[in-house]
């Protein structure tokens, strides 16, 4: 008797996830790409009203100053965030892999912010920037902090830095754990050999340990890149996109990152097709950048 290639149990066990996959990912994805080439809106959802309009939505995006601004802002934010998170977490990892007392407590402490959702963290930091910092400024006599009419979140430049501070605080402990694992995986005899050869501890770090950590760097750079690029929650609760700035002769949101720009285009401006076209661009940029970044870094990894 010939055994069935795919017995009933194969389909039975796959059925629930296949259903969820189709409902939540496949159908919305295909519809979403299609809608970005149409006049899709709350009134033109299906039937004759829904019309194919080619690349009109994409042409409009290129001329839209809010998208241009958000895009540039997101690139700047992503770069700053990647640098800040990786520098801080690498430093923390070095610190907690040294022979200091209570290093497990420190590791846990640095990790904790990561357990709390970005939305809630954003509100906590809004309170800190709006109330605790001015109060601290008064106590320490730092005039730049003390003025309640000139808050950090009140100007778009410093508000962007505030987003980076919160992003770093939230994510550094997580990335630190990846670096710690990588540092602890470096063969001890390599480090000892370098030590016997007279390498200083700084030299051992940069000539022995860091080159052995290439794979970890691929992961951490990828994670920080993607997560910074997709930031929404902290943006929503900390700055809500504000304060406004003048850009190309128009007042627009000063700290509206791309994910929020897509959201606002769809729900605030009620331009679903325009929001969807932005999302398609967002997806393509994210995909291209991640592929380039990962394959670029993979080349530098050392295979043992």
């Amino acid at each position: 008797m010939r055994k069935a290639k795919h017995p009933p149990i194969f389909w039975l066990f796959l059925a629930p996830v296949l259903f969820a996959f189709l409902m939540v990912i496949v159908v919305p994805f295909v519809l979403g790409v299609y809608y970005s080439f149409t006049n899709w809106s709350a009134t033109a959802r299906i039937g004759d009203a829904l019309k194919f309009i080619g690349i009109e939505n994409f042409a409009k995006i290129l001329k839209d100053s809010t998208f241009t601004y958000s895009f540039m802002l997101t690139v700047v934010y992503t770069l700053l965030n990647m640098i800040a998170i990786n520098v801080v977490s690498f430093g923390l990892a070095i610190l907690v892999t040294r022979a200091i007392k209570g290093r497990n407590v420190y590791r846990a402490g640095f990790f904790v912010p990561n357990l709390i959702g970005g939305l809630i963290l954003g509100y906590v930091w809004q309170f800190i920037f709006d109330h605790a910092v001015p109060s601290l400024g008064t106590m320490l006599g730092i005039a730049a902090w003390a003025n309640p009419n000139d808050l950090i979140l009140g100007r778009s430049g410093s508000a962007l830095i505030a987003l980076v501070i919160v992003g770093t605080w939230q994510y550094a402990g997580y990335i630190m754990v990846i670096y710690v694992a990588a540092i602890e995986n470096v063969p001890q005899d390599l480090i000892e050999a370098a030590q016997i050869d007279g390498a200083s501890s700084l030299r051992r770090l940069f000539s022995v340990i860091v080159p052995m950590m290439r794979q970890a760097f691929t992961i951490t750079l990828f994670l920080t890149l993607v997560n910074s690029f997709k930031q929404f929650d902290v943006n929503y609760s900390l700055t809500a996109g504000g304060p406004s700035v003048m850009f190309m002769g128009k007042p627009i949101y000063g700290t509206e990152l791309l994910a929020m720009n897509i959201y606002n285009q769809g729900f605030q401006s009620n331009d679903m097709a325009g929001g969807q076209a932005r999302a398609v661009v967002f997806f393509l940029v994210l995909a291209i950048v991640s592929i380039v970044q990962v394959s670029g870094n993979k080349k530098k990894e050392i295979e043992l």
């Binding site: 290639k5 795919h6 149990i9 039975l12 066990f13 796959l14 629930p16 996830v17 969820a20 996959f21 409902m23 939540v24 990912i25 159908v27 919305p28 994805f29 519809l31 979403g32 790409v33 923390l92 610190l95 040294r98 200091i100 407590v105 420190y106 402490g109 640095f110 990790f111 904790v112 912010p113 990561n114 709390i116 959702g117 939305l119 809630i120 963290l121 509100y123 906590v124 309170f127 800190i128 109330h131 605790a132 109060s135 601290l136 997580y174 754990v177 990846i178 694992a181 992961i219 997709k230 929404f232 929503y236 609760s237 994910a259 959201y263 969807q276 999302a279 997806f283 994210l286 995909a287």
Partner: protein
């Protein structure tokens, strides 16, 4: 080696300073949850006059009909628990048949699932809403503003990574184990639930932690599927409804935030090692 000891001491001082700096926001939340509105704006950095005020604030959050914290808490528990249980069952059984069926179709399905991990939420969020509404009307169930819809969405968005993790683990389980069970007369599904499922315990823990932290804290998906001001709210939704209001009652906002943090922190203190391991394992693999 005197310099060395001085070096270590300096590092320890640095570690303590950084540790305190990292926990400073939590300090701010705790001390200000125990203050009256006036004290908060006057001296946000000082210790509270009466710690007892914290209980007053907690009670007023918990019982406030505007914030609906207690019902949101219950909804968050239901959504997280149901999504986790279903995700762990569905993803592990799917991963098992995908590992054990060596056909091109099986491999193709697995690749499709894994590829979905790179799809950002933003590209599916608008069509997901209209599709859920249309499908719900066709099928006569409500997927928007309902537990069914949001749990289905969490299974859909969480399954790729979960299946990937189970898949990697199941590959390392020797096939002989299952063959022995078959000889003993086990049916296929029994083999999975009686033999394999218990072996998966460590990876179940990873999948639970990874998805649990995400679902509990998630904001955008519940905002879209459940909507603002709906009967069903999650804690992040309730906090954002309340904290996003024009007049900021920081004493109560920070208390609500404290109450949202405490369950996660307690969970972390109990299972710290497996949480860190689980959360990091998910991203590295």
């Amino acid at each position: 080696m005197r310099t060395r000891r001085v070096g270590v001491a300096a590092l320890e001082v640095l570690a303590v300073a950084l540790f305190l700096a990292f926990l400073f926001p939590f300090f701010i939340v705790i001390v200000n949850s125990a203050k009256a509105p006036f004290d908060i704006t006057q001296s946000p950095l000082s210790l509270p006059k009466h710690w007892g005020k914290i209980f007053e604030n907690v009670v007023s959050i918990w019982t406030s009909p505007n914030i609906r914290y207690s019902t949101s808490f219950a909804s968050s528990v239901v959504i997280t628990a149901a999504s986790l249980v279903l995700l762990n069952i569905f993803a592990s059984q799917a991963a098992w048949v995908l590992v054990r069926t060596k056909t091109r179709l099986s491999a193709g399905i697995f690749v499709a699932f894994v590829a979905a991990m790179v799809v950002p939420f933003q590209i599916v969020m608008f069509p997901l809403l209209s599709w859920f509404r249309d499908f719900g009307q066709m099928a006569g169930i409500s997927l928007l503003r309902s537990f069914t819809g949001i749990i289905l969405a969490y299974i859909g968005f969480g399954m790729s990574q979960s299946i990937f993790l189970f898949h990697g683990f199941i590959k390392s389980i020797p096939l002989e184990l299952e063959e022995a069970a078959t000889i003993d007369g086990c049916r296929k599904w029994q083999t999975f639930y009686k033999i394999i499922f218990p072996i998966l315990r460590p990876i179940h823990a990873t999948v639970l932690v990874l998805n649990g932290i995400w679902i509990w804290n998630d904001f955008l998906l519940p905002l879209l599927i459940l909507g603002k001001g709906n009967r069903i709210m999650t804690i992040p939704l309730a906090v954002s409804n309340f904290a996003g209001a024009y007049v900021k009652q920081w004493d109560l906002i920070l208390t609500a935030i404290l109450m949202a943090m405490v369950p996660v922190i307690i969970f972390f203190l109990i299972a710290q090692k497996s949480i860190i391991k689980g959360m990091v394992a998910g991203s590295i693999k």
